[in-house]
Amino acid sequence: MSQGTIEGTYGDFGGRFMPEALIAELDTLTAVWHEAMADPEFTGEFDRMLREYAGVPSLLYDAARLSEVAGARILLKREDLNHTGAHKIRNVLGQALLAKRMGKTRMIAETGAGQHGVATATAAAYLGLECVVYMGELDTRRQALNVARMRLLGAEVRAVASGSRTLKDAINEAIRDWVASVEHTAYCFGTAAGPHPFPAMVRDFCRGIGDEAREQCLELIGTLPDVVTACVGGGSNAIGLFTAFLDDRDVRIVGFEAGGEGIDTPRHAATITAGDIGVLHGARTFVLQDDDGQTIESHSISAGLDYPGVGPEHAHLAKSGRADYLPITDAEAMDALALLARTEGIICAIESAHAVAGALKLAKESPGSTILVNLSGRGDKDMETTTAWFGLGDPAAPVVEPVETPEGPQ
């Protein structure tokens, strides 16, 4: 329904703004992907890998103690329990399987938080592909643990020192690699953005999140949720959840963007809320840019949301009004992260904490409603940031009390 008449466009958004050198490959990739999705052998193998290797379907968890504090019923789609700790494994297993089908021997990827890099390195190890991951130099420092994980998995991590030295620059560098290596290399793109077919392909590989959650929700509570929510960086976990609910007109869809230090400051990554329409990394979408169309550096406490663009289908869902996109600040996300830890014993990724924080806000607006939250990843990778934020490192020092913790179970 959100697909426009021209393949790869979503209303006014999307498309394929790419160098000619890559167009033949993008055409081939599109054809092979369509063919594969219609081939039961491919889809069967993909399902088997997800089930036997990645631990999918993930649980839909009725978060009773969090719900009590929130004043609404909160259901958590536990993508944090997947192998490698995030929803990203779904996408990379799909793309790696496709790479094999195309006879590629090498996979490259960009990564921000390192989650997509780890997932790609994992899939490469699992399927026997060579793997190179581009990562902004700043991010390699923020996410040192994930650098080590990728290297242990046999991937080469290349720190990118150009531009803002974050995710967007890692994408630039990966595209540059791909222009030169496309004959034997697959670009395993990490989110539902970029040129066609990536937004649609990544969505389709991730849409199990929503398909499963919809069924699980019906089974658990006998009805659909009032709202489904997810955090939005490039938008893969969000579109993976939203797709199953697009035709359920009674289900509200809300994406939460990184509001950083506030959208009234220059330090945020709220692309849809505060960006303008432009072209970045191959698609027309919302972009944080200045008057001359130069990309503005984004900021978020979570590296995975620290991206000045967003997937074109989200841009379309926002413009058409089917979904709402709202900003969550660093501080709101960190409070939610701590609250979830203390009420449910779940330490989520800071990215995912944006969705939890958003759900808490929605709960205040509509007490008693049912809100399904995509808990896209686990928080191990962020412990350094979290430790610094709350001052958890020194056992003698007082912990910054993030939130009022509820009473024990009644």
Partner: protein
């Protein structure tokens, strides 16, 4: 002023044209105008002025460094148009080479109108293909501007034909699968690509990516209508550092070497 004028001249001389690139605002706006003027005086037949962009996916480290410096120096889109005016005033056809988003942001129609008013010849658009920018094609046609799109060794015959049909001025053939940057050896992918492109159009075919000296220029000039050089010019200026005169002298020496090359080819 279309590049057609320059190609008519080089064709009558029986040689390939030398096309030189520098980004606007590198090292400064006025400094880049002086540099490009020196390149014209020393023998460039056509100038490409780069519009610095924050996320240039087709550029290698050398041009990235220059573009980064230009942006740090605060170069604006209006400075690029000003540079076009200054360089075009030398009488040499002057194109802008740019990533797509700055043009879209400026307003495609407005950009085309102002580029034309500044005496610019047209636009080279390395990170988009004709099928994705119909509004630029319409604006270029309205304002009598050259549309230079790229073809690559990976282009299918069908796409080659579609792309060259959309071009005006010349066709830019990328000699290698890769980004900008000087290379030690010339490419064996370029001659067959030029032959395939020529089979689809009467437009001149320029070859770029990796050419850095007169010998390479001569080699390429033997089969192409234009030899396009970018990173080597940028490198000459970068190596001269803050010594302005040394930078201009190095540009002249390089241009003269390349200009002799296109006459040997």
């Amino acid at each position: 002023m279309s590049t057609a004028k320059a190609f008519a001249a080089t064709r009558s001389e029986g040689r390939a044209a030398l096309v030189g690139y520098l980004p606007a605002g590198f090292p400064t706006v006025e400094g880049s105008i002086d540099a490009m003027t020196a390149m014209v005086e020393a023998g460039c037949d056509i100038i490409e002025i780069g519009l610095p962009y924050s996320d240039p996916v087709m550029d290698g480290p050398t041009i990235q460094t220059a573009v980064h410096q230009a942006l740090e120096g605060g170069v604006r889109t209006t400075d690029v148009l000003h540079s076009v005016e200054a360089v075009a005033a030398t009488g040499v056809p002057t194109l802008v080479m740019t990533s797509w988003n700055p043009v879209e942001r400026y307003g495609v129609e407005r950009f085309a109108a102002e580029l034309s008013a500044a005496g610019g010849a047209g636009l080279i658009t390395p990170d988009v293909t004709p099928d994705s920018v119909p509004q630029w094609i319409a604006a270029a046609d309205e304002h009598d501007l050259d549309k230079v799109f790229l073809v690559a060794p990976s282009s299918t015959d069908e796409r080659l034909a579609m792309t060259t049909a959309a071009c005006r001025g010349f066709v830019y053939a990328t000699a290698v699968m890769g980004v900008t940057g000087a290379r030690a050896t010339t490419s064996d992918l370029a001659p067959p690509l030029v032959a395939r492109a020529k089979a689809t159009t009467d437009l001149p075919i320029g070859v770029g990516l990796g050419i850095s000296n007169g010998d390479q220029a001569a080699e390429v000039a033997a089969y192409a209508d234009a030899v396009i050089v970018g990173s080597a010019f940028v490198r000459a200026l970068l190596d001269a550092g803050t010594d302005r005169e040394a930078g201009l002298a190095a540009l002249r020496v390089l241009t003269e070497d390349l200009a002799r090359g296109v006459r040997r080819g």
